[in-house]
């Protein structure tokens, strides 16, 4: 069946009534003293005018008033006496040290402009990259003239946020063997999803996993910005951690700026596609994407795939819901 047409589902069941913060308030204010539970708040909605609550993220208090008002569209979360609004959708806000996957959108004289799903394009200076061969020297005019041989428009890079500017724009760097141009895999974007779904900051954003069906090893790179790269694991000759900055020139492969893929096996490509559909299914069902969820979801997906005769990879619609149900455990 190539197509499934579903009936629209009624909106998720809400709590019957907005829950009251406490029983004895309300008398002094003409409404708005209740804290809405499951309802979606819009910017400007008065959450409460009761002074016992503290305002958290996503809320503000008008000068001269005491009512806590939502500044975002989202759902309310309460931590003890702290009220905050979790946005339904949110843009990535860069923080120093974040591992991000970005796409070069513009090449300028001495720098690249990189799309990292933030409100502004990030900047990657030519001085903030490794030169091929790991040579340590000043960037010359020759380098600037052949800037496109390092990164050109459309190229995907993995980088770290080095610095934040006044206006919120980020500067990136790729001065580590772990960073650089991305090859041998597929890209998937799950950016812009707030409310605890999508990629969340975790201990490990990059890991290598052994995949089923003789697929070998696959690298998964979850950019904090919601851009994800899934690729075949390539064994490097030297251990990246063991190499100090002094010996970099020996270990930086000449292939770092190449856009040629290594030979890929069919089984690896199938498993990469499976991991990609697991991530898409997680996002579709509003679950968070981190190492734990992806590895669990992957093994679940392998099981699901065994049910169909030709090992179906697609995890959209009903199958995705089954996967999500298996992961959340109800």
């Amino acid at each position: 069946m190539p197509i499934t047409v579903l009936q629209p589902q009624p909106a998720a069941k809400r709590q019957a009534a907005a829950m009251s913060v406490d029983s004895d308030s309300d008398s002094d204010s003409g409404g708005g003293a209740e804290v809405h539970g499951e309802d979606i708040l819009t910017p400007g909605t008065v959450i409460t005018s009761n002074s016992q609550w503290m305002r958290g993220h996503g809320t503000y208090v008008q000068p001269g008033e005491t009512a806590i008002t939502s500044s975002l569209a989202g759902t309310l979360t309460k931590t003890n006496k702290l009220l905050s609004v979790r946005p339904l959708r949110a843009r990535y806000t860069p923080e120093i040290g974040d591992l991000v996957v970005g796409r070069i959108v513009e090449v300028q004289a001495k720098r690249w402009r990189v799309d990292v799903a933030a409100s502004q394009l990030a900047i990657l200076q030519i001085s903030a990259i490794n030169l091929p061969g790991g040579i340590l020297r000043k960037r010359t005019e020759t380098d600037e003239l052949q800037i496109r041989s390092f990164f050109a428009e459309g190229d995907l890079v993995v980088a770290e946020v080095q610095q934040l500017h006044q206006d919120g724009a980020a500067s990136l760097h790729t001065r580590s063997l772990k960073y650089g141009k991305l090859r041998n895999g597929v890209f998937v974007s799950v950016s812009g999803i707030g409310g605890g779904s999508g990629v969340v900051r975790a201990k490990r954003q990059v890991w290598t996993m052994d995949v089923a069906n003789a697929g070998g090893k696959v690298d998964v790179l979850l950019g904090v910005n919601g851009y994800i790269w899934i690729s075949k694991h390539i064994e490097s000759d030297t251990n990246a951690e063991a190499v100090g900055i002094n010996r970099m020139e020996e270990s930086v492969s000449s292939k770092v700026y190449s856009s040629q893929n290594d030979p890929l096996e069919l089984s690896t490509m199938r498993e990469i596609a499976r991991i990609r559909s697991v991530i898409l299914a997680l996002v579709e069902n509003r679950l968070k994407v981190d190492e734990d969820m992806v590895t669990k979801g992957y093994s679940e997906a392998v099981e699901l795939g065994r049910e169909s005769p030709d090992d179906d990879l697609y995890l959209g619609g009903e199958k995705g819901q089954r996967l999500a149900a298996a992961l959340t455990g109800h």
Partner: protein
């Protein structure tokens, strides 16, 4: 941002192309070659229209279509003076395609942008292709219906929205109802106030079901020898050929003696085929390891001869036109009995019309 260009790196394109030209292809989201994204559909969502529909793909793209009908005075053609007996032939002569106005709106794009105009023309062309459509708008010799079809994409265009818009338009037209005509002949038209008594533009059941049904336009891409339906953005980016194939079901009146209950016997007619310029042709080529000037700081910056030999794993934009065999294969896949168009129409028939 002036124009949101879809960017892909050569390494990505090479990977996608390789995985999609395998047999069977591995699509990046794991679908089967003919599989569509699951969709949610409903009709009758806009109370102020004659017919409306909303379709929502699981990847988040969503479209709504509203159909609004208006009575318009037919401008008499000069030679229509001679009073001939009203025949079907004369009626079709007087009907015109411009009684249908179709507007497509894509968020973030101007409505006079070439791609948007092309999209709306493709949908319009498929609708008017069988010349049956305008006949449905004919009231009498002095008046006709003017139909406004507003096609709105309400999510950002995550992939080429043609199949989505076409399926939504199809459903909206199926759900379109016009008030029942009370007057007769060429007098000023009078209509029944009762909306319950209104008639469907495309009659549902009964004797009047013969004639054509609204068309659907499917987006089909060919990569290598594989034919892939409902391509996502990534798949379109490496496509060698992209075709928009419009088909419609033609229902013939069943003869009274024809007792054979053959519900499967759906007759499909091919209305139009348009080639869509796949974005893959504009992509920059990949750079192999050997000729990358960036791979060595002191490499001579001599101009590399544009080598015609293809290196494994390096992206090269497709060149040349579509081979006849590929074109034929696509049309076969669409039109065959139990093929994709058949299944899509089956699926859409399950949508409740309100």
């Amino acid at each position: 941002m002036a124009s949101q260009q879809i960017l892909f790196s050569p390494a990505e394109l090479a990977y996608l192309h390789r995985s999609l030209s395998l047999k069977p292809p591995i699509r990046p989201d794991g679908r089967a070659p003919t599989q569509f994204r699951p969709l949610t559909a409903e009709t009758g969502i806009l109370p102020g229209t004659n017919g409306s529909a909303r379709v929502h793909f699981s990847d988040g793209t969503e479209a709504i279509v509203g159909v609004k009908a208006e009575i318009e005075k037919t401008i008499e053609a000069p030679r229509a003076e001679e009073s001939k007996p009203e025949s079907n032939e004369a009626a079709s002569e007087r009907t015109r395609g411009d009684w249908l106005e179709l507007a497509v709106e894509i968020p973030g794009q101007r409505d006079d942008e070439a791609s948007t105009v092309f999209l709306s023309e493709m949908l319009r062309e498929a609708l008017l292709a069988d010349k049956e459509f305008a006949k449905k708008l004919f009231i009498n010799r002095r008046f006709h219906w003017r139909l406004y079809l507003d096609v709105l994409l309400i999510s950002p265009p995550l992939s080429y929205p043609l199949p989505l818009l076409s399926l939504t338009t199809h459903l909206a037209l199926l759900a379109t109802r016009l008030p029942r005509l009370k007057s007769e002949g060429d007098e000023d038209p009078m209509f029944d106030d009762d909306w319950e008594a209104s008639t469907f533009l495309y009659p549902q059941e009964g004797t009047a079901t013969n004639g054509s049904r609204p068309p659907i336009t499917l987006l089909v891409v060919a990569i290598g020898d594989n034919v892939i339906f409902d391509p996502a953005k990534e798949e379109l980016a490496v496509a060698e050929t992209a075709l928009a194939v419009s088909v419609a079901e033609v229902r013939r009146a069943q003869k009274a003696g024809d007792m054979e209950v053959d519900s499967k016997g759906r007759e499909l007619s091919l209305l139009s085929i348009r080639t869509i310029d796949p974005p893959s042709r504009l992509t920059p080529p990949g750079v192999p390891h050997t000729s990358n000037t960036g791979s060595s700081a002191f490499a001579p910056t001599k101009l590399q001869k544009a080598g015609d030999q293809e290196t494994e794993g390096v992206w090269k934009a497709p060149l040349g036109g579509t081979k006849f065999g590929v074109l034929d294969g696509i049309i076969q896949a669409v039109l065959e009995k139990g093929g994709v168009a058949d299944e899509v129409l089956d699926g859409l028939e399950g949508v409740e019309l309100s």
